[in-house]
Symmetry: C2
Subunit: 402 residues, 2 copies
Amino acid sequence: MDRYLVVSSDCHAGLPPEQYRAYLDPQYRDAFDVALPIQIELTQAAAKRFLVADINDDWRKGREDLLTGAWDHEQRLRVLDGDGVAAEVIFPDGITEMNMPPFGAGLSMPTENIAPELQWAGARSHNRWLAELCQMAPERHIGVAIVPALWDVEEAVREVEWARTNGLQGIMLPVQWGKLSPYHHPKYDPLWAACQDHEMVIHFHSGPAPIEDYFGKMDAPPEEREDLPGAMGIYISEVAFYLVRPLTFMMWGGVFERFPRLKVVLTEGTSIWVPEYLALLDQRYSNTHYSAKLGDYHSHLKMKPSEYFARNVAVGASCMPRREAELRHEIGIEQIMWGSDYPHPEGSWPYTPDQMHETFHGLPENEIAAMLGGNAVRFYGLDAEKLAPHVARIGPEKARFR
Amino acid sequence: MDRYLVVSSDCHAGLPPEQYRAYLDPQYRDAFDVALPIQIELTQAAAKRFLVADINDDWRKGREDLLTGAWDHEQRLRVLDGDGVAAEVIFPDGITEMNMPPFGAGLSMPTENIAPELQWAGARSHNRWLAELCQMAPERHIGVAIVPALWDVEEAVREVEWARTNGLQGIMLPVQWGKLSPYHHPKYDPLWAACQDHEMVIHFHSGPAPIEDYFGKMDAPPEEREDLPGAMGIYISEVAFYLVRPLTFMMWGGVFERFPRLKVVLTEGTSIWVPEYLALLDQRYSNTHYSAKLGDYHSHLKMKPSEYFARNVAVGASCMPRREAELRHEIGIEQIMWGSDYPHPEGSWPYTPDQMHETFHGLPENEIAAMLGGNAVRFYGLDAEKLAPHVARIGPEKARFR
């Protein structure tokens, strides 16, 4: 094979918001009609904080058709082919400010002030549509179901089973839990068991963070909003920590001890943090010299945190810069899964071939192969044979990277 | 000089709780009488979670007299002399489970469910007593006033001025802000101005973290408490992050840009995190390639975060293990200030000479001198001449470390 098999570990898809109506259980459609204009307004207001309009508009110009690949399957395949991507992992929230699932059931769930029942309904409407999308080319699309598990573990287990039956291959859980129970709580064990039994990969996707700390109240009327200096700098400095918190809780909570075949991915939080994070946890795990007074907090774990990490965890390394590729052995050469983040403006699309070259050129071929796709094939249990014709047709040529 | 000048950047002092009554403004003494038994009970309950009783009791056996140095000046000097410590920085909360200031005004302030007025009163009672203690040997004691500034910046400025007038040399601010304003908010500017003008060093001391996430509700009745697996492991893995958050907010908020002579210390959070933290912030500051869509979030800072850190920040490296000494150049040889953490059981006392030797032996003399005391002398503006007689009498001999 003279081309790389590429899997993007981070892509996004979502319907134009009004089209979710048809996928909602009928009893929630009245609420949907009331919520839709509010949601559109709030989403666009948030986007104004996080996107410079001029840059965003400029970036989109001339690419309007390909951006509709956020929901249109034909356009989506054009994008994947153009990027050289054989298969992709699909998260919600397509185009940043316009493709959120209903009732706040997207990347930043759980949303305060929304009834759990509605958010479940919103998640299900997205999952139904996503299952349809994935079935149009099942070997290329790894669909990730939205599961707002914090509110109801039994419901979450049912959704995992529905998702598996309908061809989805993973779930996304909320990064933040607010006043609800974090992920070391034993009440989540039935969920972990279901994911392990059905080989459903658990995903946490970067984005959520305590943004009201940074920006002030997001839902305050404009005249009460405080424009706090440095808010964006704080956000981009802290956001990876909040992505990693669920893993810290699962790790110490013994989840990987009780569910040794469970698989967890942390996506779009860079992979730079991995070496220092594992050094800290291993040091905390093994160094009891200064902490004897704290009692036995570690013997329920039979392995070191870094060993669970190597066995149970992968990193969705979206928009991966060269520096991360250079640190690949410290991070874990088997953990890194490249991602394009299409159709988000911080992603590599539409410059994927160039950025891929910049990041990986000159590295050993087998290591590039692992990071670009081999790790994802193994972690998700993909069928490389079925992907081979796509690779032969659109995969990036290995010679380019030498 | 054949001995090292040693400054402990982290010691604790506090009265037996009932003795704070005399230092309270009279109008709060009725509330104090009601609160005292509740506070004692809560503090001891919390200590049961964080201290293994057997180990703690065993550690104390035969050292009861020296432990009363938490409030008794004569015993305190015996301890400092025995440790070879010429001068010390004094935080609240002496013996872990029994010397908290009234109304929750200690290391873990602000305490939920306590009226701000009462916590201010509690802080002031401690500051008054601490000023008395420090005046018994002013060249050796660097007193840190408790200032619960989140509630009232004007009141905080008055307390800074009172503390300076009464011989204290720094203030301690809350590490967590709950629903109140974090430290990038411009409303704190008068406080920063007062600290800069009066040369009062600002301290954040490790300890606070979202412990209800880890352990479940701390004030729940025993039968409702959930014993969540791994809670302690999560706590010790995350606690340093929460210590560093105030600095992240001040840094991006431009506080060191507007107050170039302000000094901040982060104490007892290790110093291991420093290199990776500064690499992250500098990268976020300078790398606008992937983040152009976020707009201009950095040009209000004229220097890189690592440059502000070098100019404005020091690290109270309590119980410093050998590994931190080996990383001293990556961390910043001028930033590290050793500390003993007396009288806390995780500290070096009563084995300070041995632990000091283990951490520093074989390193260059000038670097040991900087970390053990020279950096603190410079950062706090101490009078080394006044300390010289103490050093000559009790300072550790340099020859021992070769």
